[in-house]
Symmetry: C2
Subunit: 489 residues, 2 copies
């Protein structure tokens, strides 16, 4: 096959695209900005969904489903919100086609009285509905999540990272008090963080967004950022405290225990198929995808090496035996017995697909007391005793998971630089890249200036439990806002 | 609370709607024909999805995701297909809104070059894609499923049964031979049948559709029909053998093992949130929803009856203990300890929601060696020994599941009538309703005449393994097409 993935260090963006395409994760469709998620990519997304869904349910959230289409008038009810989404709306205007002389045309008689927008996010529709659902404190908290597709018309798109249609979950909760809503927004951010660290094996920075970078209609946006291998940051999940913005826009009040009518407090939070992009960019190498074992569709691949059918049958017998044992300890595996592909092709193929462990079985292995296994993360081979195979694999999967996280954490540590003046910020950005930590006085003017001059934005105001403070960048004012500047996706 | 569900025998359709609304399954939204699936309804749908998804995967199918939007020109490529869907298309024409004097309007500059249709089904988009994926016999069979939302603009809608947007799965497979594709179409119909009988506890009739009733673009439509309590039939799942219709429309050929280029053979198959409607209409009664235990979000509810906090705490202790034991044997349960609702309210509430078994715990039960349980299907109470609680519940859940199926099967048997002349058909339809079995000569003229005169259509040509034959209705010609006439949803 030769070398067919671009070099990561030469052209990161081409390397990324090559992996997505060649590992069969996704591809572009002929509909502008919309992707097709292929079975192998979708299998990873299904794992992500299942784990998150379980975490949401354990914390009392229920799933529901709201309509795809939102009347234009709903979307317009909250002014900041509509400003944020107006320029990327898919607008439905008609409900019929007709055929004239074998040509299919829009049926003008089917023009809708009011245009419908394909949801870019569902706050407006859901809050319109919550008005009917919420009457008293007994109806609160209302903790609902939805798994769905949304459309935000994008001009420049990249598979998984920025697509016009994407899959996501959107949580929408209603609470009796501001404190409880803030707690919920933070809880969900922490759940995302737990998932990203412990399942995706990606190190994170947590914080809040600056007013400029907040979700359209939020009072506070809690966020989680990761640092990709090209030293650009990626926003991986956001959780918004919406205050009473939407309850006021949609007039949602509740009767409290003292018989007073109050506006409800709310949150929304979401992660999307963008996480797939983060997963790919964080761990993969020039041989292809590298997957953390906890999210790999197949954790182990078994490849036979043989020159006659008798040997092949014996190897297959052993392979099936191993697969059964792995299955008993909940390890997923695949035995590739395709006869029209050679072992070398298969080795490359499963490396490309990021399968964490490979077991090769050849004629000698049928007699020997040992077997050769290969781990994808370090690309090292090791010889192990057959009777220790299952326990070795169990341990090795844990080790690969933790090794990937450690590697990613070191990458973040090594590429986070503290500066306290603007010249150093510019120099460090140019020479090293990565995340630049500094203090900031809260001025949007300075934020804009730095963005315009360096392309780096404030990706977050980092959580600051230690209450550290220092000299702000440019203004030199003392501040406890520790912010991270980075070029980002 | 009094009587608040309409009488099933007086107004079936109002009764149905009452249950959907009052058991919190779904509600109408303000978007024409689109429903909101509420958490309790969605929890049942999630169970349906999980079981089916597992069945699909066990038979080698993989999930993927294709775009929501289909270019008008794709949809138009197969003439019967577009004829079938043209009159119910949601058409996207623009990609931006703009604000003028605080009014939000469509931005005319954002008019799309080609209109996009929200998928009513995805054959056209998927076959456009398969052209890129299928080159040789090595790429076959291609067995792909998608869980998604679709829109078919409906004028008269009913919650779950007929909505403009619905959730479903659509399988799309490609094969090297006609025989293999037919086998696949039948396999999937059989999987649906297995699910509907063994999980939904609904008796079925299997067969094929008449040419008039086939899917737009199918060579053969395999179908499963059930008989609702109002004696109208409901189509619950269809699986289509598409021949080479779509491979020819989209020019999808493969190189076979003899190096010949052939058009691919295909199938598609789907079930939707309509199954929720079937589930509700098959088992429920005037007290509300009745759920088969295998699909109930909670299989057991525990309700405390107490007059002071001390007793309440003791009951709660016992209830938690029972829940833990039930959890260990994978039985889902809920303990309703809400203090602001009285036991009588709770009894009605969980009957309405169709929870299969209720355990009531009062002060006496703390000392006694027995407990009272209530089964939803027969509404009978029984007293059981405490030490046998878990095993009794395990058995009772199985019994309820099989009782519901038996009841439904008897309903089908009692309401299926054989006739061999048109007068009897009309009389039986008027006096008894249900399914009318007869022989049919295959004439669409006769099919139309009967439909026009009686409102009953041929819901299916029943599978006829016994090769029975008889005198056709109206024409009196001998035929082995045993068909079922019924008024249907």
């Amino acid at each position: 096959m030769g070398k067919f993935i671009s070099d990561k260090n030469i052209n990161f963006s081409k390397w990324y695209n090559d992996i997505v395409i060649k590992a069969d994760l996704a591809e572009h469709s002929d509909i502008r900005g919309c992707m097709i998620i292929k079975p192998y990519g979708y299998a990873i997304w299904e794992k992500i969904k299942a784990v998150l869904d379980n975490m949401f349910k354990k914390t009392g959230h229920l799933n529901a489903y709201f309509p795809l289409l939102i009347p234009k008038s709903f979307l317009s009810k909250e002014s900041k919100h509509i400003d944020g989404f107006a320029k990327e709306c898919a607008v439905v205007t008609h409900s019929k086609l007709k055929s004239i002389n074998n040509e299919i045309l829009i049926d003008d008689n089917s023009k809708l009285k009011e245009e419908l927008i394909i949801r870019p996010t569902s706050e407006t529709l859901i809050w319109h509905t919550y008005k009917k659902w919420i009457k008293s404190y007994k109806d609160l908290p209302l903790l609902i999540n939805q798994w769905s597709n949304v459309i935000r018309w994008e001009i420049r798109t990249r598979l998984f990272l920025r697509t016009s249609e994407f899959l996501w979950q959107e949580g929408h909760t209603a609470h009796a008090s501001s404190e409880e809503a803030i707690q919920e927004a933070i809880l969900m951010r922490n759940i995302y963080n737990d998932f990203i660290k412990n399942w995706m094996a990606i190190e994170t920075i947590m914080g809040i967004k600056t007013p400029k970078e907040r979700f359209a209609g939020a009072i506070e946006t809690y966020c989680i950022e990761g640092l990709m291998q090209d030293k650009k940051s990626l926003q991986m999940g956001t959780s918004h405290f919406l205050g009473q913005i939407f309850s006021k826009a949609f007039d949602v009040k509740f009767l409290d225990q003292n018989n007073n009518n109050n506006y409800v407090w709310s949150t929304s939070w979401g992660v999307s198929t963008r996480l797939m992009g983060a997963l790919i960019m964080s761990h993969s190498d020039d041989k292809g995808l590298v997957l953390p074992p906890k999210l790999a569709p197949w954790q182990v691949v078994i490849i036979p090496v043989y020159d006659n059918d008798l040997i092949f049958n014996k190897i297959s017998h052993l392979a099936n035996n191993i697969m059964e044992k792995l299955n008993k300890v909940n390890i997923t595996s695949i035995y590739d017995n395709k006869k029209y592909h050679r072992p070398g092709f298969k080795f490359s193929h499963y490396e490309l697909k990021g399968v964490p462990i490979r077991i090769t079985i050849g004629p000698n292995d049928l007699q020997d007391n040992t077997l050769e296994i290969f781990r994808r993360d370090t690309r090292k081979k090791m010889t192990i005793y057959k009777e220790e195979l299952i326990s070795t694999i169990e341990n090795l999967l844990k080790e690969i998971q933790s090794n990937l996280y450690k590697r990613n954490k070191n990458h973040m540590i090594n590429n986070t630089h503290f500066v306290d003046n603007y010249d150093d910020l510019k120099k460090t950005l140019n020479s090293k890249g990565g995340m630049i930590m500094s203090y900031w006085d809260g001025s949007q003017e300075i934020e804009n200036k730095i963005k315009n001059e360096t392309q780096a934005s404030i990706i977050c105001i980092a959580d600051n439990k230690e209450k550290l403070s220092g000299k702000s960048i440019i203004s030199k004012v003392k501040s406890n806002k520790r912010v991270l500047f980075a070029k980002s996706y």
